[in-house]
Symmetry: C2
Subunit: 209 residues, 2 copies
Amino acid sequence: MKDISIQVIKRLPRYYRFLTELENSGVDKISSTKLAQIMSSTASQVRQDLNCFGGFGQQGYGYPVASLRKEIGRILGLDHTHNAILLGAGNLGRAIATHLNFESLGFKLTAIFEKDKKLIGTMLRGIEVKSDNEIEDYVRGNQVDTAFLTLPKDSVEPLIEKLYGLGIRNYWNFSHFDIAREYNDTIVENVHLGDSLMTLCYRINENNQ
Amino acid sequence: MKDISIQVIKRLPRYYRFLTELENSGVDKISSTKLAQIMSSTASQVRQDLNCFGGFGQQGYGYPVASLRKEIGRILGLDHTHNAILLGAGNLGRAIATHLNFESLGFKLTAIFEKDKKLIGTMLRGIEVKSDNEIEDYVRGNQVDTAFLTLPKDSVEPLIEKLYGLGIRNYWNFSHFDIAREYNDTIVENVHLGDSLMTLCYRINENNQ
DNA sequence: TAGATTGTTAATCGATTAACAATC
DNA sequence: TAGATTGTTAATCGATTAACAATC
């Protein structure tokens, strides 16, 4: 399979979500035109996107919702499970830990680490928050390939060196530390909430101007 | 000023962040080449991006860090302040409320609303959480142009109708409800954490395959 | 001045959109 | 079969990259 552009990949989760909704509301087939309306896209783009991975449709009929959803789930790799640890049990870490259904997103959260002694020992989604000086032992003793980083930039910098040294290459990064620039064989998905707000700010002002 | 592409806009917060870092570490000028290295971009792109808004550089010298940073802040509109209300004081809402320095991002968080009686009356970043049936009175009595939505899709659907009716057109949306599709004169910045994780999942599997 | 680096135009590359033959 | 809709190729559009004259 040839390289898929990042634009297409970033649309896959939306296809997946909308197809799940359609399936749940009992729709069993959909045309590229209708799917495009839902996606705020075009029929052409829908067909191009899906054809990156195979011919899932049927001429004259459309796409079968349930099996297309399943296919996209498989393409995304949601059927695999990556063991992940969460670093930072502050407000953001606790929100992330409790808010998402990792199992249906291709991950399993197996441990949570925190520096602040007040938080160590508390429970989050059935997991006891451990001290951050147990990280090394834990990663050596357990299969972990992904780290979720919900701590500030300054704390990430020294930590990432340790994690990288322990072989962790996949990061879901909420901090402003630029992991991919330091370690170029990592896979990093950044979530920069402040950037998102600034973008909103720009668009509001642009609109008012 | 002619229309700026969304790609350029989404890069502006990163320029702003990195320039802030550079300024804080005492750097007073930078070339497009060096800035490109920091941005994981190209010198050409940096110059093209900045020239969308004006000639901030000086031939033979580069760009003055402090004033460029200030300019980009102004372009983003961070000097304006948009009053925002937060809807949903669950885990995610509390994290958002406490995690970000809204003032430096162009916003001011002025009120928080929540349905769950256990949370009403609690304090978050110095703001008392109000009952969600006070929303209408509050928005009518105060200047609010933006809503941060940290509640589930099903709760957003009925709420958005009310907010839209009250004249709120700008949304920072963490839910899966597709606001822009329902109301096409709104400005919506979506943060879909699940989508981000699925994208990470894809990229990990693609890499392992 | 000479060297450096921008601002800007031109070339390239890739993504989106359009068109239509294939086919269910 | 006729109508509908895909799969896929071609055309267009826009973003990125390269090049270089302008100039500090």
